[in-house]
Amino acid sequence: MRSAVETWSRKLHICLGLYFLFFLWLFCLSGVVLNHPKWRVAGFWNERKQMSSELQISRPAETDDFLAARSLMTQLHIRGEISGKITHAETGEFGFRVVRPGDIYEIKADFGQGLARVDQTHVNGWGVLNMLHSFTGVRRTDPTQQQNWWPTGIWRFSMDALSVGLVVMVLTGIYIWYNRAQRRRSGMLALALGFLTLAGFVSGIF
C-alpha cells in the first residue's frame, strides 16, 4: 500500500518530467555541442552571415542613452537585448550592440546626418541553440549588465523553472526509490558512487 506522500511524489516526478522533457533536451544537446567546439555543428560561427546596411533615422527625443537606444531599435525594427556599454564616439557617433539568439547587431548612429549603420551577424540553427543555452542578459563578471528585454526574462524564468523542476525530480525520485526496500542497498551504492565522484571534483581532491 502506497502512502499519500509516495503517490504524490510519483505524480510530481512524472508530471514534471513530461512538462520539462523538451526543455531538458534543448539544454542537454546545446550543452554537449558547447563542450565540443571542434565538432562540425559547433562551427556555426565560421559559417555566420554578415550583412551591413545604412538606414535613415530621426534623432530620438529621449535624453537617456538606454531609452534613446530603444527608440532607435524601434525605428530600425530590431528586437533584442542591449548588451554591453552604450558608447559616444568623439565623432558624435552613438553606438550599441543588440543580441538575441541567432543575431547580433552592431548599431552606430550619426544623429547629425540622420543615418544609422547596422552590422548584422546571423548564425544558423545550431548557433541559435547554443546562444539560447546562455542567454540570460546578465553576467557574473559584469554586475553593471542588467537584463533589459522582456523575452530574456521569460527565458531566464524557464531556466530557473527547469533547474528547480530537476531538483524536485531528484528529490521525489530518491523518495520513491527509498521506499522500495528491495532496491535500497543497490540504489545506495549508485547514489554514493555519484556523490563521491562529484565530491572529488568539487572539493579539488582529483
Binding site: 512538462y19 533536451w25 541567432g102 533547474s163 530537476l166 531538483v167 547514489l191 556523490f195
Partner: protein, 208 residues
C-alpha cells in the same frame, strides 16, 4: 519478454538516475547562480604572492598552442602549481610571460620574468559556489585548441557529456515507462503538449 524489457528499463532508469542525482543538483544550482548574479557567492581569499625561481624551458616565448602549454606545464611544476592552463600571454615589452591557471575553487596567475627566471605566483581560493560554476562551464566552447590540458578537466568533460547523454536516456526511458505503466495518462499527455508549446512560445518570443 516485454515484461523483462520493462524491468530492465525501470532498473536502468532507477540506478542511472540515482548516480546522476548529485550531478543534476550541481548543474541546477549553478544555473540559478549564473542566472542571478546578485546572489553572493561568499568571499574569495587572496593568498600571499610567492616569489620563486624557475629554470625557463627553452622556446616558451616562441612556441604556440599545445607546445607552449607543455613548456608552461614544466614551469608550473617547478613553481608547485597545478590546474587547467588558460591563455598564456608573452609580453616582449615587459620581458615576461603570464600563465593563468584554474581549477574548481582555485585560481592562480604565474608571471615569470624571462631574463631572471623569477616567478611571482598569486593564488586565490574562490570557494565552493564558484567551484560549481567553474564545473558547469568546463570545458566550454572557448580556447578549443588548448582546453582540457589538465587531466582532471578532460575527465570532467567526459562526465559532463555523460550527464547530458544519460539525462536524455533517463527522459526517454521515463517516457517509455510512463507509456507502458499507463499512469497519469491524460494529465501526462497534456503536460507533454503544454511543455512543447511553452518551449516554442518562449522560442518564438525570442527568435521569432
Amino acid at each position: 519478454m516485454r515484461t523483462q524489457f520493462n524491468f530492465l528499463t525501470r532498473d536502468l532508469h532507477l540506478y542511472i538516475g540515482l548516480f546522476l542525482s548529485p550531478f543534476v543538483v550541481l548543474f541546477a544550482a549553478s544555473v540559478i547562480l549564473l542566472n542571478h548574479p546578485d546572489i553572493p557567492l561568499g568571499t574569495s581569499i587572496e593568498s600571499k604572492t610567492d616569489q620563486v625561481h624557475v629554470d625557463l624551458p627553452p622556446g616558451l616565448d616562441r612556441l604556440q598552442g599545445m607546445e607552449r602549454l607543455d613548456r608552461a606545464r614544466q614551469l608550473l611544476r617547478q613553481a608547485g602549481v597545478s590546474g587547467e592552463i588558460g591563455f598564456v600571454r608573452y609580453s616582449a615589452e615587459e620581458g615576461s610571460i603570464t600563465i593563468p591557471v584554474s581549477k574548481p575553487g582555485y585560481e592562480a596567475t604565474v608571471v615569470v620574468k624571462m631574463d631572471t627566471g623569477a616567478a611571482s605566483i598569486t593564488e586565490r581560493k574562490t570557494g565552493f559556489w564558484n567551484s560549481i560554476i567553474y564545473l558547469h562551464k568546463m570545458p566550454g566552447p572557448h580556447l578549443a585548441n588548448i582546453r582540457g590540458n589538465w587531466p582532471v578537466v578532460r575527465i570532467w568533460a567526459w562526465l559532463a557529456d555523460g550527464t547530458a547523454w544519460l539525462l536524455i536516456f533517463l527522459s526517454v526511458s521515463g517516457v517509455y515507462l510512463w507509456a507502458v505503466l499507463r499512469s497519469e495518462r491524460h494529465v501526462g499527455l497534456m503536460l507533454l503538449v503544454v511543455g512543447l508549446i511553452s518551449l516554442f512560445g518562449a522560442w518564438y518570443a525570442i527568435c521569432g
